[in-house]
């Protein structure tokens, strides 16, 4: 293997300027750096956990699709993860000389700000949306704003402003559009194929050069903190002040960011974000589309990875239950050695996964349901969007020609210490006719599969009741009813 070049500084572009930093703590956040080191105080801290969006900035990165700008939460984004990126803050927005940017002017004219503290974040989220969609629908606007909290306006004025942006200016005249070629060239010039290593002892960060290099680094540093999207690790720092050194940033490793389908199995690299996976998954496994739309807010989906959602082993991660129901398999890698296991066996107990020191999650392989297989996933939360699961159920059903259940896989999140199959329920369904009577009998088996907890998201009683009702919902959905079987934000009123 060719010797890896080592670089002891990170390179990126902040607004118009090139930035070179040789002294970067592994836990330094982009927000603190902007506000404290650069005195760019337009970007606000509202919650420091990626939930309110007051700190929203855009990060442009080179991908297969070219230069793509995405909204992210600067509060939980580590500086070390920005090597080779273009960071755009509210201070960079401008319109024609002496004028506000169309997004800003629309917000002013439509009374989209009151106290104004959340406003820069909204402006950045709307800017990100406007770059992709000049005439967004209500649904698209709401989706783009799921990660932005406003306590004053009730959002109505902001949505009105979002609809009006294009009447204030042309996308082609937008500074980032005009500078696109130049920025692309500058970012390409930053790609030198080097590994970044900064700091020593208790404050080290490493950005591996590629996946093989990552495998090597992790073998040498089995205790390192692997940071992909930092939507979880970010809070270890901002809320728990945990030490994450040495931190290994893998968010920009091309080799982990691939998503490809082969023989009905979609393989998703561990660095693929929810946003990057969305188009493929929602097309090939349509039931995953609405679920992905309810994971975090847009900023979190732009950062967070499916690999991270699996690897952190949370019992309330939203992707493991559907992937388990679909029969997904997981590839783990240590050095050059790889092994592939059924996803459900990865979750051993609360906080314990089948991952060896020095080993990392490389990819997850998701079979696309065959024709005739019925698949659904339902997430229950206190608030519809940007909320953490109280209970989530995923169902894959295969019916025999005679209408009996030939195969069924049911998995839940939020109901046990790990994402877990509902084995007793499955057994009660297998071989039985797919009827409401069968479903009702099976619903009684939930008590054998799950003993949920009471916490701030839901009581044990509610979890138990709602969880088993989801089986009935699945039955109704699959039995061809035309009446509504669940409430929906986006269907016509």
């Amino acid at each position: 293997m060719a010797k890896i070049k080592i670089r002891n500084e990170i390179h990126f572009i902040l607004n118009g300027r090139d930035v070179v930093l040789s002294s970067v703590a592994p836990d330094a956040t982009l927000l603190d750096w902007l506000r404290l080191d650069r005195s760019l105080r337009g970007t606000k801290e509202g919650c420091a956990e990626g939930d309110c969006g007051a700190c929203t900035v855009l990060v442009g990165k080179l991908s297969a699709a070219g230069l793509v700008y995405e909204s992210v939460n600067a509060c939980i984004r580590f500086l070390g993860s920005l090597d080779g990126a273009h960071v755009v803050t509210v201070e960079h927005l401008r319109g024609q000389p002496g004028q506000l940017h169309p997004v800003q002017q629309a917000m002013v004219d439509f009374h989209g700000s009151q106290c104004g503290f959340c406003t820069p974040g909204f402006v950045m989220s709307l800017y990100g949306l406007w770059m992709r969609s000049l005439e967004p629908s209500d649904a698209a606007i709401e989706k783009a704003l799921q990660g932005n909290l406003c306590r004053c306006t009730g959002y109505e004025a902001i949505v009105r402003a979002a609809h009006a942006i294009s009447s204030y200016g042309k996308a082609a005249k937008d500074p980032l559009a005009a500078e696109r070629k130049a920025i692309t060239a500058r970012l390409e010039a930053l790609r030198d194929g080097a590994r970044v290593e900064i700091g020593s002892a208790e404050a080290r960060l490493i950005v591996p050069a590629n996946v093989d290099d990552f495998a090597n680094v992790l073998e040498q540093e089995p205790g390192a903190t692997i940071v992909a999207g930092s939507t979880d690790v970010g809070l270890w720092v901002t809320k728990h002040m945990r030490d994450i050194s040495p931190a290994v940033f893998i968010g920009n490793l091309d080799g982990l960011c691939t998503i490809a389908e082969d023989k009905g199995v979609i393989s998703i690299g561990a660095g693929v974000t929810y946003t990057e996976a969305f188009s493929t998954l929602s097309k090939r496994i349509p039931a995953l589309g609405p679920l992905f739309d309810r994971i975090g807010g847009e900023q979190v989906r732009n950062m967070g990875t499916i690999g991270g959602n699996i690897a952190n082993g949370s019992p309330i991660g939203d992707t493991p239950p559907p992937l388990i129901a679909l029969g997904a398999r997981l590839t783990l890698r240590k050095g050059k050695k790889r092994r592939t296991i059924p996803l459900e066996t990865f979750f051993i107990a609360y906080g314990k996964q089948d991952r060896q020191p020095g080993e990392f999650v490389e990819a997850v392989h998701v079979p696309v349901p065959a024709k005739g297989e019925k698949f659904a996933v339902y997430k229950i939360t206190k608030r519809r969007d940007e909320d953490i699961t109280a209970a989530l159920g995923a169902f894959l059903l295969t019916l025999a020609k005679d209408g009996t259940v030939a195969d069924v896989r049911i998995a839940y999140g939020g109901m046990a210490a790990t994402p877990k199959r509902a084995s007793f329920v499955e057994r009660a369904l297998l071989g039985k006719p797919w009827t409401e009577e069968t479903v009702e009998t099976a619903m009684a088996q939930y008590a054998r599969d799950f003993t949920p907890l009471t916490d701030m998201r839901a009581s044990a009683e509610y979890r138990a009741l709602a969880a088993k009702n989801l089986l009935l919902r699945f039955f109704v959905e699959t039995s061809g009813t035309r009446a509504p079987f669940q409430v929906s934000r986006n269907e016509a009123a």
């Binding site: 506000l100 104004g116 503290f117 940007e386 009446a483 669940q486």
Partner: protein
């Protein structure tokens, strides 16, 4: 070139006077990130940072507090404890001496501040805080009021009783009667900008504090007590808050006091900005209530007598719980005439953070109680709740005496509701929903129309005063200052519009300046929806004084009668000639006319005798109504708001664009309170919903799918308020009740509308599903 030179001297109207739609004065700064909040201000060199150390027990004596590791931590300069408070260790805003700056030997809620680390950086202060070793001897504690006796258990402040007529006799004599209980949850403010204070020491005893507060004068007084120095040494300034909602009426005192103590001790600027989680744990919230009610009524649904007990979780100290629970009682009638009524409050002591002001200030909780009574009666007599509502509305010439013996003189609720019923197509949709529900097994629709009447004035009568300071400079530009604070509600803009109107100069000639105790003293909190009523009048008074002097001067100089001096847009007509406003000002200055004035206003007519429960606590009432339709998933309790129609009035609005924003925002905030915003304590007395990841305020996607908001164009204030406008801060908040009642209506459909769902708030999907299960069970039984 001086901008005023470009003012249009031929204009027929000024730009930006009253009753015009103006954009928020800071909007262009909000959107570009240049609006300065306290944490954005340049810090003086050597600024230190504070972090609070919080109690890890709900009720305990501190047996040992070892802070040596904290003091030894990197960057730590000092650790303040109770003994470092040079003056009085108390920040009780009502003078009850029950709220220490830092707990001294005893803690009364999980999260109570017990020490404050001062370090070179905020990060160092936060890290060091965690190194404290505190040992507790735990005492019995109570976090929930469910098990308390409102008549016997400990109160934090004296309760209030309102009565008119003999409620017990009326209920007893009524053809029908029923009783019940309702739980109404609390609410976290979730201002996007958390609490923050930066204290900058001056010479002698002086200290300047930049505090995110709705009540700079109170911060000044509290810091004065805590430092043991006179108020005149303390200046408190605030240009803008990133949201307040009542959460910064008293709750900023702690941070300001500690920053000031450390700043004076170390002769360095000190900033304290708690992390969001600490802010949510250590500062107060909306009071949650348990409402016991008994009502007597007839078969037609006429209510004959009502008895209420409003028990509130106040937390460990009184804070504003007295006036909050009073205001709950003041609103236990909402828009309804109770022929005989008895209502009591019980401000209960609990081992939780001390609850505080929050938009509506207890009023919404009182109104929710009233609406539950209406619902109960409607279900009991088998009629649409809207019919029962209308039947029991206050009259205009009779049936118009409130439980506190004030006559409702300005009642317009009938017309508001009639117009809304029509524009929202209530009757047609009621039929459509019945048909829909008959054919839909799992998804049920619900519809409700709820009214709002909200009393305007501080019930502490002395608070109903305001001051302003108006300077006119020799170039004709105006510097405006007043005691009101800007938290996003557009107060600065509205008051500037009033001053522009008064002088007849364009709005851009009026410079809005930061609120500071050094310019206008002894101010009231910007609260109780009173901001533009009080400060608008005070500023108008200030401007009028100057205008009067200018008029006198012009009449004398140009030898015309006073009534021939007219202030026209950007100019003054004196006899037959017109001169620019700025020119007249210049001439007046040369003639040594004083061009500065302190304006003042106090609300007339109001009085209140708390011991008797009688008086006129409110100058006037504001009215509105909302109609909401929801869809409920009866398998999970999840729901969406399909449509909301609102008709609300703000008298003759000073700025309809700003008022519309207050109404939309108030409704959504009220809806959040009653739906997804849930505060949850665990069995150790820890609040577990202390961040946006666990505490869920509404998102853009929680808005009603169809949202029609109309500002009624016909009402005007019955009293001579500022340009006949009415307050708008709090009154729209309880419009959110229509969502709760629409959910209740949908739940009721599973038992054919025969059983009152008694849906408590917040009506989370869980509460909705559990109510559905209960009704299904009761319907079968």
């Amino acid at each position: 070139m001086n901008k005023h030179a470009t003012s249009n001297l031929k204009a027929e109207k000024i730009v930006g006077g009253v009753a015009t739609d103006q954009r928020h004065d800071s909007a262009h700064k909000h959107v570009s990130g240049t609006a300065v909040y306290i944490d954005d201000m340049p810090e003086p060199a050597g600024t230190l940072h504070g972090c609070l150390g919080l109690s890890a027990a709900a009720h305990a004596t501190i047996t040992r507090m070892d802070l040596s590791a904290v003091r030894a931590a990197s960057g730590v300069v000092d650790v303040l404890t109770a003994k470092d408070v040079p003056g009085e260790n108390d920040i009780s805003p009502t003078g009850r001496h029950d709220e220490p700056v830092l707990a001294d030997g005893k803690v009364e809620f999980f999260g109570q501040p017990i020490f404050c680390v001062i370090a070179e950086t905020r990060e160092q202060a936060r890290r060091a805080t965690r190194l404290a070793k505190v040992e507790y001897k735990e005492l019995p504690f109570v976090t929930d009021i469910g098990g308390l006796d409102p008549r016997k258990d400990k109160l934090v402040t004296p309760p209030l009783t309102l009565k008119r007529g003999d409620a017990a006799a009326a209920i007893k004599a009524a053809p029908r009667r029923l009783k019940g209980k309702m739980r109404v949850g609390g609410q976290e403010h979730f201002y996007l900008e958390g609490h923050i204070a930066m204290a900058v020491p001056g010479e002698d005893q002086d200290v300047t504090i930049y505090s995110s507060t709705q009540h700079p004068s109170e911060v000044q007084h509290m810091v004065s007590h805590a430092l043991g120095i006179p108020s005149n040494a303390i200046t408190v300034e605030i240009r803008r808050m990133g949201g307040g909602f009542g959460g910064k009426e008293t709750q900023g005192n702690q941070f300001a006091a500690l920053a000031a103590i450390a700043a004076k001790k170390h002769h360095r600027a000190v900033k304290i900005r708690p992390d969001r989680d600490d802010d949510m744990i250590a500062t107060g919230k909306r009071h949650d209530f348990l409402v016991d009610y008994e009502v007597g009524f007839d078969d037609e649904g006429n209510i004959l007598g009502v008895d209420f007990m409003f028990a509130a979780r106040c937390g460990f100290s009184s804070d504003l719980s007295g006036p909050v629970t009073d205001r709950a009682l003041f609103h236990c009638d909402n828009t309804y005439f109770w022929p005989a009524v008895h209502a009591q409050s019980a401000p209960l002591y609990t081992n939780t953070v001390s609850n505080t002001a929050f938009r509506g200030f207890g009023g919404p909780q009182g109104m929710v109680g009233a609406e539950r009574v209406i619902d109960e009666v409607a279900f009991a007599v088998g009629k649409d709740p809207l019919e029962i509502r209308k039947k029991n509305f206050y009259g205009t010439s009779d049936r118009n005496i409130t439980p506190y013996h004030q006559t409702v003189e300005d009642n317009i609720i009938q017309r508001i509701v009639t117009e809304l019923e029509e524009s929202a197509c209530y009757a047609r949709r009621r039929r459509e929903i019945s048909a829909f529900n008959a054919n839909s097994r799992f998804v049920k629709r619900g519809l409700a129309l709820t009214p709002v009447k909200f009393g305007i004035s501080f019930t502490a009568t002395h608070y109903n005063q305001a001051g302003a300071l108006v300077h006119v400079y020799t170039d004709g530009s105006v510097h405006l200052n007043h005691g009101g604070t800007e938290m996003g509600q557009g107060l600065y803009l509205k008051v500037a519009q009033v001053v522009a109107e008064e002088f007849q100069i364009d709005l851009d000639q009026v410079k809005i300046t930061a609120t500071t105790t050094g310019k206008v003293p002894n101010t009231s909190a910007t609260a109780a929806s009173s901001g533009s009523d009080l400060n608008g009048m005070a500023a108008q008074n200030g401007a009028r004084q100057i205008k009067d002097r200018l008029t006198d001067f012009a009449a004398e100089k140009y030898q015309v009668p006073r009534d021939q001096v007219l202030f026209l847009p950007n100019r003054v007509r004196i006899g037959n000639q017109e001169i620019a406003f700025a020119d007249l000002v210049k001439q007046a200055y040369m003639a040594r006319i004083q061009l500065s004035a302190a304006g003042f206003y106090k609300t007339p007519k109001i009085h209140w005798n708390r011991d008797k429960g009688e008086g006129r606590p409110f100058y006037y009432f504001a009215y509105g109504a909302s109609c909401s339709e929801v869809s409920v998933d009866t398998l999970t309790g999840e729901y969406v708001v399909e449509r909301t129609d609102i008709l609300h009035e703000t008298g003759r609005s000073l700025n309809r664009a700003i008022d519309l924003g207050q109404i939309e925002g108030g409704f959504i905030q009220g809806m959040g309170w009653l739906t997804t915003e849930e505060l949850w304590w665990d069995d150790k007395g820890r609040l577990r919903t202390h961040a946006p990841s666990t505490y869920k305020i509404p998102l853009a996607s929680d808005r009603p799918k169809i949202f029609n908001v109309t500002l009624a164009d016909w009402p005007e204030a019955s009293e001579p308020t500022i340009h006949r406008s009415k307050a708008v801060g709090e009154p729209p908040f309880p419009l959110g009740m229509s969502v709760l009642h629409a959910l209740s209506d949908a739940v009721a459909s599973v038992a054919d509308h025969r059983i009152c769902p008694r849906l408590d708030a917040p009506a989370t999907p869980e509460r909705v599903l559990m109510a559905i299960e209960r009704l299904k069970g009761e319907a079968k039984a």
